[in-house]
Symmetry: C2
């Protein structure tokens, strides 16, 4: 068994036995060393975005003092939902190792599969999104584009 | 101009002029009243997950004392990336109003479009994800499933 996945499982177990949320633990590794761990704290923190991967990413960023986790890999007990997959990409994580699948998530009551379908096929979102005040927002974007000395990410 | 979108733009402007991150502000509304606001703080907080929508969701959940924002709507200056779209769905937000499009995001240097493509067509992810230790993680999930008195989300 992979030692980092074992840590991710232990992290998840600690979370569920403490009532923090679902069975999702994550470990972020750089150059063969653990940078940070995290687990699902949706219930504990009243934060629907605090999945295991997101918690670990936030912790790793605090440890390294950056929003850029280039060169880091993540080990996570469940295949990431679209939110967490995209969080890994925004963080520039180089590789994701996961244990259980999106199908396994469904088996224990989570909605990841339907979210993947909706993100992939926007028509399934129906009227969930609507556009408003495009021109006013474009002015905001143009102002941002014109700014100098900004930090890109 | 919609008054909540105007607030979202003001929130975004405050963020960019303070160097917090990109031009993304969000306002969460319930029963016609503002519950919370948020803006992109990726640079400020060294948190690649702290997009405007995520910041607003976290704030609204703290205000309401729940991880469930059923009945809430979000007004946001840019069309949500897959992370934020999925964050809204996990939070049970009922409707998303956005100003600029994913194409506009690309114009000012953001990668949302490529992330949408990769989430929709997993083959584009190549070797980004790899599965490990499935059975050990399934044991964890089975243990969670067997637990009583857990809070579903």
């Amino acid at each position: 068994m992979n030692k980092f996945m074992q840590m991710a499982i232990e992290e998840a177990k600690q979370g569920i036995t403490s009532g923090h949320g679902g069975p999702f633990g994550s470990v972020i590794v750089k150059d063969g060393k653990v940078v940070a761990k995290g687990h699902n704290r949706v219930v504990q923190n009243n934060d629907p975005t605090c999945h295991g991967e997101v918690d670990a990413i936030r912790n790793a960023c605090q440890v390294l003092g950056t929003f850029d986790l280039s060169g880091c890999e993540i080990y996570t007990t469940g295949e990431p939902c679209p939110m967490c997959l995209c969080a890994c990409m925004w963080a520039n994580i180089s590789k994701i190792y996961y244990g259980c699948t999106i199908g396994d998530n469904a088996e224990i009551g989570f909605r990841d599969d339907s979210f993947y379908q909706k993100v992939a096929d926007r028509s399934q979102l129906g009227q969930y999104l609507a556009q408003l005040d495009h021109e006013h927002c474009q002015e905001l974007f143009a102002f941002y584009k014109s700014m100098t000395n900004k930090t890109n990410y």
